[in-house]
Amino acid sequence: MTSATVPEPSGPPRTLIVARGIGRTIVAVLGAIVIFGVFMKLKGADPISAYRDMWDSTFTSGDSLEQILVKATPLILAALAVTVPARAGLVNVGGEGQLVVGGIGAAAVVMWFGNSMPTGVVLVLMALFGAAAGALWAGIAALLRLGVHINEAVTTLLLNYVAVDLMLYLIYDPWKDLNGSGQPATPPLTSREQLPLIGNTTVSMGFLVAIAATALVWFTLTRTSWGFRLSVVGGNPEAARQAGLRVGVLLLSSMLVGGALAGLGGFTQLAGVEHKLRPGFLLTYGYIGFLASWLARHHPVRVALAATLLAAIAVGGDSLQLDSALPAASVNVLMALVLLGVFGWGARKKAVAA
């Protein structure tokens, strides 16, 4: 890549380019909505009333606003888990598994040390264990990438399945709640192991954790030398190596930080929302977080907003299931179409000469 020596091409002014990018993005999103409408029509549902129901149930009641923030909490953290490695050019598709092991790590504190710890300390320890478990899970993929050049996209995907099997093993066997009925699960957390709720809402303090994480990631990526080095590696690893940067250490650290963020997401879901591990814990959240990060092209603040947007679509998807009798997973179609639209026709990436 020789673009460093090439002078800025004289083109239309920057504001016009940005405006065009926004315009194209809007067209892409509208296109996605139309195509999904056609799909719904094919399934015999009335798209207009389905969209109206989605809109109403998503934006016109305070309850659903809370629901969006509840769903957005692990999504923001899962998305940031993609963002940090992506800055260094890595594709972390392991958010799904890293969220789950984060939940496992947090639950382990309760299962192992239970009542022996003072209130407050237990929550901090749960968060630390969750983050460490997520980092460990992502670290496996990073080491395989550095040691034997296996692309992290493939290994993180495979590790997702292992993480889910590990969780199922624990909740069906050693950690099973013997007093529980119905679906197997871990014993519910006691109140001192739960994250407090914000005011009178159903939103837990976990949401503040996600906001704080966003701010922190934004700061580290844009204002610290580590963040700067990551983007140098992401831009051109060969040049970074020649400039004396320790590329391996940077790649590994970006994955560890990413995994820790997703692990925190698992912790907030366990301690703030579900209060126990059960089959289906945070299912597909990791993949939706992946979409959010790519949707916002890995800018931390925009990523958090995109994750919240996708959380809103997901909440709308629940209304699809209730009002139009479509499977909840159908909303994945809408998310995927929006992203394809943005990939294909959204703000174009900077032209790379080569």
Binding site: I140, H149, A153, V154, L158, H298, L340, K349
Partner: protein, 305 residues
């Protein structure tokens, strides 16, 4: 039937869908395009075959439906990575996500549908050979077809003129262009063939192996296929060996459970994925270093936007 025999026989029939997808991914990657959406093509193929089977009552028409559905999804991947130049790894996942949504949207109606599955056909004489017969020659027709597809794919890739173009498109597109070929068209064809093969793999899964459709039934087999292709260094015969090996890993859990072994089911379920990672660890380096030039660009550096 003893355990080893049962696992190996199950490995061949259970590995056949992975092998279809693996051969498809091999063709696609030889042309320089990684398609993680192969998992989605399998899923679309599984539902497409199931639906076409239920409608026609004919498993072969079902398999054609699966092939078409898998190919159509791969065409979307091809368009976005080749024409719109979007990131191959991320696009593959988005395409998979699309497939997850579309198949759950249209698949719900088929969960309890009755189909006419492919029947087990015992090859005369060959099937009575001890061990070998039971493992390889008491299978469904789609499994037999994939036996032939392995050498055919090898021949097409390494001995035919078309294969030269595909490999050229994966290594040096500019050379192809110099000689008046259209590398992008070659890549399009390779990616779609990959999707068609994965679609037939999905068909084998839903209408010859499991004889059922349920949401997200592929369960990572497509991702395992991608991993197999990497450590098999994109060589069809090695892909076949790897696919059958992982078929065995998948067959181990039900075989042990049927015998009342008290190992936790979920620990067993993780075996194929863990085994894939371990084999990647042992053999992956060579697979990566022998990758076509075009692929190395994708795998070594994935630009962040």
């Amino acid at each position: 039937m003893n355990l080893g025999l049962e696992v190996m026989a199950g490995g061949v029939r259970g590995g056949a869908s992975i092998l279809y997808a693996g051969l498809g991914e091999t063709v696609s990657e030889r042309a320089g395009v990684v398609n993680l959406g192969i998992e989605g093509s399998m899923l679309c193929g599984a539902l497409g075959a199931y639906a076409a089977n239920a409608a026609s009552g004919n498993p072969w028409i079902g398999a054609l439906g699966g092939a078409a559905a898998g190919g159509a999804l791969a065409l979307i991947h091809a368009y976005f990575v080749l024409d719109r130049k979007s990131n191959q790894l991320a696009t593959g996942l988005v395409v998979l996500f699309l497939a997850l949504g579309v198949t759950s949207l249209f698949g719900a109606a088929y969960v309890d549908e009755i189909i006419t599955p492919f029947e087990i056909w015992k090859v005369p004489l060959l099937s009575s050979i001890p061990w070998v017969g039971e493992i390889f020659f008491q299978a469904d027709p789609l499994t037999y077809i994939v036996y032939f597809l392995v050498p055919i794919t090898w021949w097409l890739l390494f001995r035919s003129r078309w294969g030269l173009l595909v490999r050229g498109a994966g290594e040096r597109t500019e050379v192809l262009r110099t000689y008046g070929h259209r590398p992008q068209l070659v890549q399009y064809i390779a990616v779609v063939i990959g999707g068609v093969l994965a679609g037939i793999g999905g068909a084998q899964l839903s209408t010859a192996y499991a004889n059922a459709w349920f949401e997200n039934m592929v369960q990572g087999r497509g991702f395992i296929a991608v991993a197999v292709v990497i450590f098999a260094a994109r060589q069809p015969f090695k892909v076949a060996a790897g696919s059958f090996l992982f078929g065995c890993a998948l067959a181990l859990s039900p075989a042990l459970q049927a015998r009342g072994v008290t190992i936790n089911q979920f620990a067993l379920n993780a075996i194929p994925y863990v085994a894939t990672i371990v084999v990647l660890l042992l053999l992956g380096k060579r697979g990566a270093s022998e990758a076509p030039e075009g692929l190395k660009k994708v795998f070594e550096m994935s630009p962040s936007s």
